[in-house]
């Protein structure tokens, strides 16, 4: 009994320490996710031939390693899918969160990812490729690949930034166009240049097993530990520290909140604005490279990845705070993995289902008027509590 009270007290303390806005934010998040998952349940009930089975796979699929009835290997396979689909989300979420913090609506992340992957693939082919290429140190090759990818990604987001600075062209429009240009550049390089491997059905030359092993550690047959996961987590942490703990991050947030104010207190607003977009693009490039190195031993980029848009979803889930990108990525990756496991089962609905769920959650997370009444009630209560507190302390002073 007393233990229960203690826990309650601890929870109250935890929540009491938060201000109204954070408490409300948390509550809204919970409700939005509940609505989203509710949508998923309804869709599965309607679409699936065997709803009970499908629901089980959707909600528990990625956790099948803990299920004694599922063979170990297959369980790991499911788990692997979860972790794997989380990796790009970590990058794109951080990238968009940083760009949105400065209020820069650069949607060129998709292009940055394409070009990053392309650049990295090309570097690996040149340094460690299987056609007449010198065999460089595989670790060095991977590192150079990542760095070049960052530069390429940064370039893609830098172009709209410069076009806006110089001529006032809408970042949103130019960055959208650059995504498609990037896509066709990637296809061009793959199909019309020496990057194409004419011997096999693969798309580009292959790079050596050593480079692959630098990036992937095979744990048994079903689970592969990818270096990308750790790079992604590092990006999240560095992104958060950069935005909230450094002077540059402080300036960037100032710029995002009020550009006139930022200019007036002496922030170089043009350079800060361009800087965030370059950072965003560089993270995007890194993402593209990580995905390529983590999944293939050749370059394969003939379609837009959609990761750029994922970044927007992620940034919204995380409220533009990289700190919350990790839990958000865990969640989104989980439902995606769940959905694609469900889709592999006979009669199960397809994984595009998660797009609907994500869209619904995004809408309810952002809706200012959603739960407005509860919000107002919380504010009023808080105000009353403060007033009472003031009255008490006032009396004490009077005494």
């Amino acid at each position: 009994m007393s233990e229960k009270k203690q826990t309650q007290g601890a929870i109250a303390k935890l929540f009491g320490g938060m201000d109204v806005e954070s408490r409300f934010g948390l509550m809204r998040m919970a409700v939005a996710i509940a609505i989203g998952l509710g949508t998923a349940v309804i869709l599965i009930l309607v679409c699936a031939k065997n709803p009970a089975e499908s629901l089980k796979f959707f909600f528990l699929g990625p956790l099948q390693i803990f299920n004694p009835n599922v063979p170990k290997g297959i369980g790991w396979n499911y788990f692997d899918q979860w972790i794997q689909s989380m990796i790009p989300l970590l990058f794109t979420g951080t990238a968009v969160a940083i760009m949105f913090s400065a209020n820069k609506f650069n949607l060129g992340l998709e292009g940055a990812i394409m070009c990053g992957g392309l650049a990295c693939g090309w570097v690996c082919c040149l340094l460690d490729g299987d056609i007449q290429a010198p065999n460089a140190n595989p670790f060095l090759c991977a590192v150079i690949g990542l760095l070049v990818a960052m530069a390429a990604g940064a370039l893609v987001t830098l172009i709209p930034a410069l076009l806006e600075k110089k001529w006032g062209a809408s970042i949103m429009v130019t960055s959208l166009m650059l995504n498609y240009i990037s896509l066709y550049i990637s296809r061009y390089c793959l199909f019309s240049t020496t990057l194409r491997d004419t011997r096999t059905s693969k798309y580009s030359w292959q790079w050596t097993e050593d480079v692959v092993l630098t990036f992937r550690k095979f744990m048994g047959t079903r689970f592969t530990l990818r270096l990308g996961l750790f790079i992604g987590i590092a990006v999240v942490i560095i992104g958060w520290a950069f935005l909230f703990k450094t002077k540059w991050g402080f300036k960037i947030r100032q710029l995002g909140q009020n550009p006139s104010f930022a200019k007036y207190v002496g922030v170089g607003i043009v350079s800060a604005g361009i800087l965030v977009q370059v950072i965003g693009g560089a993270i995007g490039g890194l993402c593209g490279a990580t995905v390529i190195l983590g999944n293939y031993n050749y370059y394969y980029g003939v379609d837009l990845t959609g990761y750029g848009w994922d970044g927007v979803t992620m940034a919204i889930f995380a409220g533009n705070n990289p700190k919350r990108v990790l839990p958000a990525a865990l969640f989104i990756a989980y439902i995606r993995a769940g959905a694609s496991i469900m889709a592999t089962q006979p009669g199960g609905p397809i994984n595009e289902l998660t797009k609907i769920v994500e869209g619904v959650i995004v809408l309810f997370l952002l809706a200012e008027k959603f739960l407005a009444k509860t919000h107002r009630k919380m504010i009023v209560e808080e105000a009353k509590r403060k007033q009472a507190l003031k009255a008490v302390t006032g009396e004490e002073v009077a005494k």
């Binding site: 947030r253 909140q257 200019k263 007036y264």
Partner: protein, 516 residues
């Protein structure tokens, strides 16, 4: 007619918990100009917003011509014969005057907008009330004075009988104000009821028939204007007499901090706005700049504070030419600046008080170690400043947007006055804030002066500028028109002559501003 319009026990509580109006009573007769006076934040604008249907009262009644009304939107208000001229003009810049005037009651020919008829309606209304406006002109090409007339015609054309004017003279030249008053009196004589909201008590005294004073969301009382003096109204408004006799010792100016020589500034469109201005500001003095708005002060201050670039001449701060410096460089060299528009430039409303106070100092080694910011040092110092500058708040983590205007300004002042400074530029430092906060800001300015800072003060408040400044520069037409080394000898009347360009000083006298 008595009680043509009655607002009875009207209460309004905003979402953030602020009680803007607390059982306010207000009534107006037919055919009078009725002033509503009150400090900023007293609740005048809220009261009028309720009358115009933009906000809805939580309690109380609005009775027009003996009938109780529920005004849920401006449409309801317009139907009830109420028109409002807002502080910021409600116009669509790329549309013509006729389109703007008839917007909402567009004459149509089927579904097609009937431009001919719109022009006719506009010009008829203009003729009837004696306004000279070209209905075919585009709003974006008009001057402020004409825009305001369009605003009034807009209300009249919809048959309004009660016209609300929210601080209409704030943006006008004295000439335009005079013209406006003549037209308002004409309107009153033709039976229109005018509600005139203003801070400028002399205008209230000159124009209005009665005055209602509101203080902290409550009605203080209603008087016939001839029964009260300006000093009375001011006393009702603030409770105590406004006393601008700021205790201050005579200035002891030392060497030059800011030297402006032959400064010429062209604006974006290539028009010369500042024309060969030279003056200097020395350590330990307050130099005031007076002038009717739009005579080059804005552009000059923007050039000095680095918000815009200048074309010819030189500005030196502590002996260094500032032409190629960015704002960061200016601040490192000792410039601090209280900007005119505190919500646009002075603060980031969605950031905390702490973040706002530290905004310009974040690069200071005290607050960062080269990469990471030092949160403890920031917390300690900002807590100290919140106390020192008397910012009313829960704590330093509160968002600036939650504070009242006066407290926001205190945050701005706290930030600027705690930074390294040689030159302090104060641009309208007390505009739109409550008397207590204004007094505090003025005291701090004198305090800074006594510490040996050079202070440049720009203010539209003549009482303020005359009582604070040690010496005074008057600008007119982009040039310095007068320089008074000692403000004590100056009368308000004389100042007015120089501001309006009726009198001019000789080159010799003006050159005194340079202290060579």
């Amino acid at each position: 007619m008595e009680n043509y319009l009655v607002m009875e026990d009207v209460t309004k509580i905003y979402n953030n918990g602020i009680i803007a109006n607390d059982k306010v009573n207000f009534s107006a007769r037919k055919g009078e100009i009725h002033a509503i006076c009150g400090e900023n934040g007293a609740g005048k604008t809220t009261l009028m917003k309720m009358l115009f249907g933009i906000e809805q009262p939580d309690e109380g009644k609005i009775i027009i011509k003996g009938k109780e009304m529920r005004l849920n939107s401006p449409t309801d208000a317009i139907k009830a014969g109420i028109g409002m001229v807002h502080q910021h003009f409600m116009q669509v810049p790329t549309l013509t005057v006729a389109e703007n005037v008839t917007l909402g009651i567009e004459p149509t020919n089927g579904v097609v907008f009937d431009m001919e008829k719109a022009i006719k309606m506009t010009s008829e209304c203009c003729e009837k009330y004696g306004f000279e406006i070209n209905p075919k002109a585009h709003i974006q090409d008009l001057s402020v004075g004409v825009k305001q007339k369009v605003e009034i015609v807009k209300a009249l054309v919809k048959g309004c009988e009660i016209l609300i004017l929210d601080e209409p003279t704030a943006v006008l030249t004295p000439q335009e104000t005079k013209e406006l008053f003549v037209q308002l009196k004409n309107l009153r004589d033709s039976g229109c009821t005018i509600i005139f909201i203003s801070h400028k008590l002399n205008e209230v005294k000159e124009l209005c028939d009665r005055v209602t004073v509101i203080k902290k969301g409550k009605t203080i009382g209603v008087w016939n204007i001839k029964d009260v003096t300006e000093a009375d109204i001011s006393r009702y408004m603030v409770g105590v007499d406004v006393d601008l006799d700021i205790p201050k010792k005579p200035a002891e100016p030392k060497e030059n901090v800011l030297v402006v020589k032959d400064l010429t500034v062209y604006n974006e469109a290539g028009k010369k706005k500042v024309d060969g201005v030279s003056f200097s500001v020395r350590k330990g003095e307050i130099v005031g700049i007076a002038g009717v708005e739009g005579n080059g002060q804005r552009e000059m201050i923007d050039a000095i504070t680095g918000l815009s670039k200048y074309s010819y001449g030189s500005i030196t701060l502590m002996g260094k030419e500032v032409k190629d410096m960015d704002i960061r460089g200016l601040r490192t060299n000792g410039l601090v600046h209280i900007p005119e528009d505190r919500n646009l430039y002075g603060c980031a409303r969605s950031m905390s008080i702490r973040d706002n106070m530290i905004a310009d100092k974040i690069t200071d080694p005290k607050y960062n170690n080269g990469i990471f910011i030092n949160e403890k040092a920031i917390k300690d110092d900002t807590d100290k400043w919140v106390d020192e500058f008397g910012v009313l708040c829960d704590d330093g983590d509160q968002l600036v947007g939650m504070l009242s205007g006066g407290n926001v300004q205190k945050v701005v002042v706290a930030r600027e006055f705690t930074s390294y400074s040689e030159l302090v530029v104060c641009d309208q430092p007390t505009r739109g804030i409550d008397v207590g906060a204004a007094e505090f800001v003025r005291e701090r300015m004198v305090h800074m002066r006594d510490q040996g800072k050079a202070i440049l003060l720009i203010s539209a408040d003549l009482a303020e500028i005359m009582s604070l400044s040690d010496s005074l520069i008057v600008m007119h037409g982009g040039k310095i028109n007068a320089f008074f080394p000692d403000v004590k000898t100056l009368t308000e009347e004389d100042l007015g002559f120089y501001m309006l360009g009726v009198k001019h000083m000789s080159e010799e006298e003006i050159r005194g501003a340079l202290h060579e």
